[in-house]
Amino acid sequence: MIPLTHYLILSAMLFCIGMYGVLTKKNAIYVLMSIEIMLNAVNINFVAFSAYSGDVSGQIFALFSIALAAAEVAIGLAIFLLLYKRYGTVELQKIRLLRW
């Protein structure tokens, strides 16, 4: 059996890769994809801990999380579409409405 540590290392790597993408990518679509990677890292953690502790609730949470991720992508893409219509770009560096 593959020890738990391996799963955790994999998940930590995926999480960091995703976080790197979120913080550095200019294009909003890449950022969204990076967030998906981070979410998957979390899912791996859920499933791994669930399998090792013998409690299925972690796996059910993973299923919920996947469904939520799908919903999030749908909304996120719709927002980007509108952003593109309004500003002609989806580059996060250029959308600075959070400042006055």
């Binding site: 976080m19 979120v22 913080l23 550095t24 996060l92 560096q93 959308i95 600075r96 959070l98």
Partner: protein, 649 residues
């Protein structure tokens, strides 16, 4: 039902009548006239009940607090004086309102007329019933407003509108002084209640002359006494019924009532009595002379009213010991009856002729017998023909003035003025009667007798004008008095030579008028022959130039004074103000520099500090989502490190 509730009803019923007529009068028959009659007549019934109650049980008072802790209250005080005034006011009002059905029949704004009459009756009853000076003043102003509204009833006529204004402004002078007097009394005694004041004055009577005279000034304005009499002749611009009700029989008596009511103050200041008597005497004589040259039938009656009010003041001014109180109030009652009769009869004449001018009247006796005979009765009464009501009361007035002369010689002069006024009164009133009813008709019109609603009140009033005089010996003198009742008898009256003097004065006045205006033995022109006599006539026609004098005061003194004050304002006051303002500017400069250096320094320092801080932090607010996310992650990492260091995890 006990009398307390009756007293409140007396004021409430006419006010309800006023509201109903004012809002729904146009939907009712005759513009709400019948409702007005019903409400006024019910006050008459209530007044009679109150009169009997007072005769049986004496005076009583009801009141409730108005403003807590100030001694101000709303209440009713009912004694013999109140009961007498109630009867006079409600009786004359009832007669006048019934008469109005005929007189105002063709007027388009009947609703307004009856509403205002109801309001007036309610206010007048409130004035009489009030148990303190402030409440009395409130109703006093209300009757003033009603008088203003009704004088200006035909407001489309410029003369009526300006007469209303004049009446309002002239009486206002008296009202302000009256209010000042009330204020002085309140400051001095802390209450305005009649009985409480009377009680307090048992201990402290210092400095009462000023408030007493100020109260009298209010009476001078309301009762059209010299020098504030100028409004009453102009007030005849209103409907004749209004003149009869308000400007002859009721409202103008409010001033007399006020003086009678203030007797408990006046008895402590005998000097005030002299002032009242002198003003009354001057008014009586002066107004009687002005009545001599009037051609307006209502003008004669207006001056006659002023003159008779002067008589009442003269009687009241005779003081406590001379029974002036009883004589004055008795004359008030009789005058209300015969003067209302004369005015209503004059209204009947005006209704038939369509004009006030006596020069186009004449010979009306054969066309309108009832009016003619009732007016003759009224004339005999006011002229002091023996055994008519005016004879008794006028005689009592003159007798009380003669009594007062025992203490002060000025009263002898006032007595002489009173007797001469009696002669003039008899003369001018019969001049009026002969010019109206005797001789030949001088104008082109078709006179006719007035309808029953008008003649019946005339007949009722005529009975009272003829017979009310005997009441004096059968109850009146034992009912209305101040201090001691006089206890006079008819036989005693005819033992005094003063009685024969006033009979002679009255009869000679009637005789002279008969010779000039009926027989024609003496031509009226004899009195205007020669420059001296013409000048007298001119002065009388111009009403002693009083109106001109007041205009001159208004234009020259007050306006000129204002111009001087304007100059004073420009030079002195503005100079002072400019000086103050330059001082202010200097102070402003000083405070400005303090402001700039000290206060602004602090404020600027604070803002500079926060500005620098903001500039530093501003960099962090890039507006980029990813920068915020980085900071968030940094924060989370920092928290985790902190938790590890503290050993929480």
């Amino acid at each position: 039902m006990n009398p307390t509730e009756l007293a409140y009803l007396l004021v409430i019923i006419p006010f309800i009548g006023f509201l109903i007529v004012a809002f729904f009068g146009n939907k009712m028959k005759e513009g709400g006239a019948y409702l007005a009659i019903a409400s006024v007549a019910s006050t008459l019934v209530l007044s009679i009940l109150i009169l009997f109650d007072v005769m049986e049980n004496g005076s009583y008072e009801v009141s409730m607090n108005w403003v807590a802790g100030t001694g101000l209250e709303v209440g009713m005080f009912i004694d013999s004086l109140t009961a007498l005034m109630l009867i006079v006011v409600t009786f004359v009002s009832t007669m006048v309102v019934i008469y109005s059905i005929g007189y105002m029949h063709d007027d388009p704004s009947k609703r307004r007329y009856y509403a205002e009459i109801c309001l007036f009756v309610g206010s007048m009853l409130g004035l009489i019933l009030a148990n303190n000076f402030l409440l009395m003043f409130i109703f006093w102003e209300l009757v003033g407003v009603c008088s203003y509204l009704l004088i200006g009833f035909w407001y489309q006529k410029p003369a009526a509108a300006s007469a209303a204004k004049k009446a309002f402004l002239v009486t206002r002078i008296g009202d302000v002084l009256f209010l000042t007097g009330i204020a002085i009394l309140y400051v001095k005694y802390g209450t305005l209640n009649f009985t409480e004041l009377e009680h307090l004055m048992g201990h402290d009577v210092q400095g009462l002359l000023l408030p007493a005279l100020l109260l009298f000034c209010g009476a001078v304005g309301k009762s059209a006494q010299f020098p504030l009499h100028v409004w009453l002749p102009n007030a005849m611009e209103g409907p004749t019924t209004v003149s009869a009700l308000i400007h002859a029989a009721t409202m103008v008596n409010a001033g007399i009532y006020l003086v009678a009511r203030s007797y408990f103050i006046l008895e402590h200041v005998p000097d005030a009595f002299l002032v009242i008597a002198v003003i009354g005497g001057i008014t009586a004589l002066m107004a009687a002379t002005m009545a001599l040259v009037q051609y307006d039938i209502k003008g004669v009656l207006a001056y006659s009213t002023i003159s008779q009010l002067g008589y009442m003041m003269l009687a009241l001014g005779a003081g406590v010991h001379a029974y002036g109180y009883t004589a004055g109030m008795f004359h008030l009652m009789n005058h209300a009856f015969f003067k209302a009769l004369l005015f209503l009869a004059a209204g009947s004449v005006i209704h038939a002729v369509g004009s006030n001018d006596m020069r186009i009247m004449g010979g009306l006796h054969k066309h309108m017998k009832i009016t003619s005979i009732t007016m003759l009765i009224g004339s005999l009464s006011i002229a002091g023909f023996p055994f008519f009501s005016g004879f008794f009361s006028k005689d009592e007035v003159l007798a009380s003035v003669w009594h007062a002369a025992a203490d002060n010689n000025i009263y002898y002069l006032l007595y002489a003025m009173g007797v001469f006024t009696a002669f003039l009164t008899a003369f001018y009133i019969f001049r009026m009667w002969y010019m109206t009813f005797a001789g030949k008709q001088r104008g082109d019109y078709h006179p006719h007798e007035s309808p029953k609603t008008m003649t019946v009140p005339l007949m009722i009033l005529a009975v009272l004008a003829a017979g009310a005089g005997f009441i004096f010996f059968f109850g009146f003198q034992d009912f209305v008095y101040f201090g001691h009742a006089p206890h006079l008898t008819i036989s005693h009256m005819f033992e005094m030579w003063q009685t024969w003097v006033s009979i002679a004065a009255g009869l000679s006045g009637i005789g002279l008028a008969t010779l000039i205006y009926y027989k024609g033995t003496i031509s009226p022109r004899t009195f205007t022959a020669g420059p001296g006599r013409r000048a007298i006539r001119r002065v009388l026609e111009m009403k002693y130039y009083m109106d001109e004098f007041y205009m001159w005061i208004a234009q020259k003194i007050i306006y000129g004074g204002s111009l001087v004050m304007d100059k004073f304002d420009g030079k002195v006051i503005d100079g002072a103000i400019n000086g103050i303002s330059s001082g202010g500017i200097a102070l402003g400069h000083a405070s400005n520099s303090f402001d700039k250096n000290a206060i602004d320094g602090t404020v600027n320092g604070l803002s500079k500090g926060s500005f620098i801080g903001g500039k530093l932090l501003w960099k962090m607010q890039s507006g980029r989502v990813q920068d915020y996310a980085s900071l968030m992650i940094l924060g989370v990492v920092g928290l985790v490190i902190l938790m590890l260091l503290m050993g929480v995890v």
